[in-house]
């Protein structure tokens, strides 16, 4: 038998590198890390914050890392999710399992609103519009004192017991709270991984790499951008809702552009356009802030300096640099 008559065969699969293995099972690996995480953190509330900010950064990363659009207004998505979840519980006495989807919906809707207005601008202008629009959202929520508590924040998001199919979990217990929140974050991992692996995920990256070519190939770039932005809003909204439940309050500062700035720093620190990067970035940023605050009140100096060093020398972020070193 020669090659002509042999049935066409795919080449033998090359031995799978650890990197390829990690990518294929990224959601599962991230989930495993999340499960053992609280045991190595100084205190559980910090571990929860890392999860939440990691999820927030994951949502942001979808737009910045994978699509290539720098948004300086993501606080609006995070904050809307938090407020809507909180308002559902405080003003409408809805149970937690209704409030969280409302938070996600809030993030999606706010992203749709901002996205529709901002999506036709490019580059630096996109960053500026998103910042301006999210500041408008900040002032609007600030003024709506009866709903949001205004400057004093929304208080009273008190969920004591989480009832899952008859099993009553004590939400006040720090570890229980962590694992309940972790469950949502892990679900988000899987959803995100599916999105990125789907054809849509490929289009997102195509648009980032070469917009003209993507357009020539028949993809509607504007719609792609808008859809990605909206999806990002869903993840950030979920993160916000979880934050509201964790802290039992929603502070007005959550909508301020400082919060937008923080997620930019976290994404860069961790590594944009990577799956694990945002989580690594959140862990690095919050741990740093926590540890440095213990030694000195000048933690902003250290964090700012480290950020600058990353921008200058490690633009791929901690995780991105590790990956590229590992690949070599």
């Amino acid at each position: 038998m020669n090659e002509m008559t042999q049935p066409y065969r795919l080449a033998e699969a090359a031995p799978v590198s650890w990197f390829q293995f990690a990518t294929r099972h990224r959601a599962s690996i991230a989930s495993l890390v999340v499960l053992v995480f609280p045991l190595v953190m100084p205190f559980t509330a910090l571990a929860v914050n890392i999860l939440i900010y990691g999820l927030y950064a994951l949502g942001f990363n979808l737009v910045y890392g994978y699509l290539g659009l720098l948004s300086f207004g993501h606080a609006a998505l995070f904050g809307t999710g938090a407020y809507l979840c909180g308002i559902a519980i405080v003003h409408f006495a809805l149970p937690w399992y209704a409030a969280i989807p409302i938070g996600i919906l809030g993030g999606l809707l706010m992203a749709a609103l901002i996205g529709v207005l901002a999506i036709r601008t490019r580059g630096i202008y996109f960053a500026m519009v998103t910042m301006a629009l999210s500041q408008c959202v900040y002032y609007l929520f600030y003024q709506a004192v009866d709903w949001t508590g205004g400057e004093n924040g929304l208080r009273g998001i008190n969920v004591r017991v989480v009832d899952i199919l008859g099993v009553k979990l004590d939400f006040i217990n720090p570890l229980t709270r962590y694992y309940v929140i972790a469950a949502f974050v892990i679900a988000a991992f899987f959803v995100l991984s599916r999105i990125l692996a789907s054809p849509f995920g490929a289009v997102i990256e195509a648009v980032r790499e070469n917009e003209t070519r993507a357009k020539a190939s028949g993809y509607d770039v504007t719609v792609t951008r808008l859809l990605t932005f909206i999806l990002s809003g869903g993840f950030c909204g979920l993160a916000g809702a979880l934050q509201a439940l964790h802290l039992s309050i929603v502070p007005i500062e959550i909508l301020h552009y400082d919060t937008s700035g923080i997620v930019v720093m976290i994404a860069l620190l961790g590594g944009m356009g990577t799956f694990f990067g945002p989580m690594v970035g959140a862990a690095a940023f919050l741990l740093l802030e926590n540890l440095v605050s213990v030694w000195t009140v000048h933690w902003q100096l250290i964090v700012g300096a480290i950020f600058m060093i990353c921008v200058l020398f490690f633009p791929a972020g901690i995780w991105g640099t590790l990956i590229s070193r590992g690949k070599r």
Partner: protein, 294 residues
Amino acid sequence: MAGLSLNLVLLQLFAGLALGAIYVLFAIGLSLIFGMLTVVNFAHGAFYMVGAYVGVYVLMLGGNFWVCLIVVPLAVGLLGLAVERVLIRPLYGRGIDYPLLLTFGLSYVMVELVRIAFGKTGFPFDTPEVLQGAVNIGVGYFPLYRLFVIGATAAVLLALWLFLEKTSFGLIIRAGARDPQIVRVLGVDVARVWLIVFGIGTAIAGFAGLLAAPLQGVIPEMGSTILAEAFVVTVVGGMGSIGGAVLAGLLVGVVVSMTSLFAPEMGKVSIFALMAVVLIVRPQGFFGRAGLMS
């Protein structure tokens, strides 16, 4: 609302011009730096703040306000030169986001360094004696110092205009703003031009900080609020356009002033809403270049 007379409105307008003058100075530097280097300088507020603190320091050493007017822009400009050379230059060519991100981190560092050097609470900054008091400008009494601010801003604008229109270096800057490629082909050392532009931009920001100091005192955080508002000005005026920065700066000052007459709570929202509207309807602002840098 008591007595909304024409006099009051005109007085309010004048106050808006004085407010706008500081915005103008601040935004010009931002606009210049963006127009020439395509760098969004998130640390511009920090340079503004440093200018005010250099003024405080000079006064501490026994100098007077007039000495500050000269020393502050020089000192801050030098700092700007150093920052551009050491921190920003390595990032050219890497994409438009990197200098933005770097200056973002730089602002944290600069603010904290000032806190360490000068403390957290800030300093009062007295209006120089000869400029204290109010004068009757026909429609009412207006603080003399604010008239001085308007005047000083006009002087800086004049000097800048002369520099750009009448000197050969200014010619290079204008050419470079229009087409950086050609300028390089013609053999001009673009890197040196950018260095100097950054220095000039930050020097003007520091000068603005010094002028603002007697108005509101000096604290380490004074740069961050004006930065957000100045972004509005640069966007509305058109990033890269000096004329735009002037017009938009005065416009924003007047808008804030007028809204505080009718609905003070809406003051801040109004300028961000204005910014959003301009960005959506005409992203390049009044005089900016369309389709700037994707």
